[in-house]
């Protein structure tokens, strides 16, 4: 675990950040389990949410330190290899989810779904080699920041939508349904989840436009159907089609929740499958 120039200084921050996320996850799950015993209208102590919020915010701050340390060590931002892409995504997903958790108490119980989803990334990053990669010449472009930034907001809103959709689906399991009694009815959750998916659609569109501008500057073409471009366009198409279908047909709430979860998985595979498959964020173009 040692670089020729010294230790991987970002790792202690990364590990403690992941530990903070883990604590937030455990406390969130324990909290909703405690809620299940009450009857409708009964007072429930939700003070545990202070701790979830605190641990999640601490995780975000520690991951920010980790990213900063890595940036100083390798000399460039987290844009090239899978290790730093996952680190960066853990930070941005955590940041936006924590802000939403803080701002919208009605959605807090969905952390039981959203935080474990983030843990897929958390476990994955632990299996990767943290050694840095050189920064490709085509990445010295401000549109890269815009493109990646919009992408992060898109995936974060997808995560929020998937968290709410997950609650709707878990409520179908009798033993678990009582965990989410403090959340609104499924119909309301459904409307809220799709609201976040429409927001995700807006940011996905912005991500595609910013990516096309960057690609035009960097590689002399705005679209070339590489692995990531094809997958993200299909993802945009599926999300757009789902929104159209929902506005036109009476899609059962559970089916809608399955669709949202499917879109999130598709987005997840686009972000972390295509780069993993092609080794660089955009295969063959650096």
């Amino acid at each position: 675990m040692f670089d020729i120039n010294g230790v991987y200084t970002e790792l202690p921050w990364l590990y403690t950040g992941l530990a903070a996320y883990a604590l937030a996850t455990v406390v969130a799950i324990q909290g909703v389990i405690r809620v299940r015993g009450g009857s409708a209208g009964a007072t429930v102590n939700r003070s545990y949410e202070h701790f979830v919020l605190g641990f999640a915010a601490a995780g975000v701050a520690l991951l920010a330190m980790s990213l900063g340390e890595r940036w100083i060590r390798i000399g460039h931002g987290p844009f090239v290899d899978l290790f730093e892409l996952l680190m960066s995504q853990l930070f941005s997903l955590g940041l936006i989810y924590t802000l939403i958790y803080w701002r919208y108490p009605v959605l807090r119980a969905s952390a039981v779904v959203a935080l474990p989803l983030m843990w897929v990334l958390g476990i994955w990053v632990l299996t990767l080699d943290p050694v840095g990669s050189p920064f490709p010449p085509t990445y010295y472009n401000n549109w890269l920041w815009v493109h990646v930034g919009f992408g992060k907001v898109f995936l974060s809103f997808c995560l929020v939508g998937a968290g709410i959709a997950g609650v709707i689906l878990l409520r179908g399991i009798e033993r678990i349904s009582s965990w989410f009694r403090q959340m609104p009815a499924d119909a309301v959750l459904d409307a809220l989840a799709w609201r976040f998916m429409l927001l995700a659609f807006i940011f996905h569109s912005l991500m595609l436009v910013a990516g096309a501008v960057w690609a035009q500057d960097a590689w002399g073409r705005y679209w070339a159907w590489d692995a990531l471009e094809t997958s993200s366009f299909l993802n945009w198409l599926v999300l757009g089609a789902s929104i159209h279908a929902r506005t036109t047909y009476k899609i059962p709430i559970r089916w809608g929740a399955v669709a949202i979860f499917g879109i999130f998985i598709f987005a997840f595979l686009t972000y972390f499958g295509a780069p993993f498959y092609s080794e660089a964020a955009h295969k063959g173009v650096i």
Partner: protein
Amino acid sequence: MMIVLRYMASTRFTLAGMALLGVGAALSYDNPVNTPVWVLVVPLVLLAINLLSAILTNARINRRGGLLVFHLGLLGIIILAAIGRLTHMEAHLEIIQGAGFMQDDLMNIRSGPWHSGALDKVMFVQGPYTVDYAPGITRGLTHSHVMVPDGHGGWAQKIVGDDRPLIMEGYRFYTTFNKGFSTTLTWIPDRGSPVTGTVNMPSYPMFEFKQSNSWTPPGGKEINFWLQLKTGLDDKAHWVLDARQARGTLVINSNDRRIELQPGENAVLDGGVLRYEHLSSWMGYKLFYDPTLQWLFITAIIGILGLATHFWRKFAALPIHSASGVKPDWSKGQGNVAVNSGAHVSAAVHKGQNNV
């Protein structure tokens, strides 16, 4: 007419078009040579007809400003992308240091049937370039110096490279990884006038150990060249490729004779004398032309802003808290709240359902 338009505007048609476009996109992955462009053109034409019909007949779109702008934006993108493909041009170019751009030097030209740009007005002269390399011969930034007309009868220097193309008359010239060394040679035949030209060696440092080429001078026999380069290349350290700092010995194989030439030296060969004038370099460019680029960008941004406006207008009046029976009062230190039975669902949110 309206019946036909309403039929064409149906969401089923939209979903079918999207599904077809999805199949077309999947088939287009990695631009396979055996996939026809029609897998994308057909669904895009269907979706354009569907979009136009919906804009004209669907009150849920044409009476909502934001949604209308978004759908007009989508239609505009399809039309502009089609015009772009019909008028575009792509090509490659290798240009030697000190030489001016000439249309005849373009290779691998692909252009749309309506392409009619002012390529004949493009004028620039290639200057020297440098390329930074990280340890492991990992390519970094390229700085290519070019001279362009300054508009007052003189020349101005520009530095282009990587994500900074040279843009002239709408044509965009991008530096590529393909670049290398060239030798300027003069052939002085036993009879006739001398001829001066250049021989480009393969891309460097990609083909560091294959810096060879051949040339048949007018009236002479084929001459095989090999260029021994001293560029300071070090695969374990940072290094800058700069032809001005490089030294090259030209090795000639002719009639089983091996002759080594330094710049300025001559070799007597069958049929004449070959003079190695000097070492130079060449840069490979990718040329791209599409007159719709900026309009595509503007149309896309306006369309997305339209959708964002629709979202804002629709949901600003329905804050997420309105769906909540829980709003902890953090100022009192405790988040004690009443369990929401789900019975008092916000009517406003209910109303918004299926209408995102």
